[in-house]
Symmetry: C2
Subunit: 250 residues, 2 copies
Amino acid sequence: MTNAFVRKLERFGPLDRDERDALDALCAGAVHHRADDEIGQGGQAGTVPLLLAGFAYRFKLLSDGRRQIHGLFVPGDLCRHLYGHLSPSDHVVRTLSPAVVAAVPAAALHGAMERHPRIARALWASTVTDDAVLREWVVSLGRRSAYERMAHLFCEVFLRLRAVGLVDGQSCDLPLTQMDLGDLMGLSTVHVNRVVQQLRRDELIALKGPHLTVPDVAVLGRAADLDPAYLGLEVGPAHPRNAPARVGAA
Amino acid sequence: MTNAFVRKLERFGPLDRDERDALDALCAGAVHHRADDEIGQGGQAGTVPLLLAGFAYRFKLLSDGRRQIHGLFVPGDLCRHLYGHLSPSDHVVRTLSPAVVAAVPAAALHGAMERHPRIARALWASTVTDDAVLREWVVSLGRRSAYERMAHLFCEVFLRLRAVGLVDGQSCDLPLTQMDLGDLMGLSTVHVNRVVQQLRRDELIALKGPHLTVPDVAVLGRAADLDPAYLGLEVGPAHPRNAPARVGAA
DNA sequence: CGCCGCGTTGACTTCACTCAAGGCGCGTGG
DNA sequence: CCACGCGCCTTGAGTGAAGTCAACGCGGCG
């Protein structure tokens, strides 16, 4: 299977062989991490962690130990802003599962963007999309009920994974404990448990251990009050190419 | 007084006369808006709204009318991502007060960035900071109590306004109704009222109409469980220049 | 075998929401 | 000039969603 980074960027516009090779080159030297490993910190100044396989997240702790996760990464995602090196990092990135991570030198990334305008374009479109996801989290945390929030999260993850070809039929991996889900969506573990059970009873999802099944994303999305245009992934089928590139219009 | 955009960017590094002039040029043709006016929509494709005076916000509505504000803009702020034109906008931007807004052509902005690397650098640093603010909102909404949340918000706004020279002594403008505050922090109007009163009783803030006074930001920050490094504005005094540029380190 | 992490359940508490009403300041129009 | 309406702030009472605390089952692993 091709590089997840390439698959992700191809959603934003076609790439030719040359461009795909350039992206592959950026991933050289990817390393394996164990679950629950910190990534991108320490020695790696001037590089951007790129997740190629597995799951990761970023979070902040309050002074009394409360944790809030404010980013979830799936294969193909950059785990830091393209210009993140301009400002000291204020949070931690950690793997959720065994993972493959490339430490892409920021200079190489920017070089590739200069040489390949379509890569630059895709990368920026991807950044803008990441932003939209974060804003949608704000909406969830601020105004959606626990039930809607969880439904929205499962929907988002499912669609993002489908976009990089990691959904098999109606199922995908999701190595999150209920405690993680709580820290993602601002809920207690106990309440997550109850809400997940309700979602199961309503047959919107099946969730056993690290395995998520979504019988019908559209139905789940409706329960989540999900914006049909969200991620531009909604209506489309399993993988890009046939879907219209949702890019370029003003 | 100089252009708020220039003042904001100077926080991220010094700019010479030439660079300041370039920024000024981008603001040519700024127009006045009434309060509660939609900005940046419609005809303005290919431009980025830049707020030069007044306040604005962006929000989303859920299908049943619940509103969540997911961005608050103060003078000097760009109201859209630098590459926002790569993706259709999924939300609305609206003024909170009478405001002056320049519709900066994206092309002109990128041109200025190419000609003036220090402008590019400052603009990127500013983007990264905006990101950090949004993530901090996620933390607030997910894990802070209503009391901490409001304290954090007032602190953030106060520091951001101070950074562009819009704090006079211990006071600044803040033209938000309690309903707006609720939609910002995911609370009901009634509860906002109660929390604000508590903050007043604790003498952490004074808030009458559109006027906010913060006797001691450090104390307010402590009540908010605010990260001391947040915004890099904390310890510094009223305005840049004398403060070390918090930029460039990895 | 026994610990430990994770999911599950029940009972109770509490933070925040809803509903409802009243006050105040201000602009508009009679 | 005053009456009225309206937006906003305030207050009280009751409700409800989600949190806390505590216990137990289950499965994996050392």
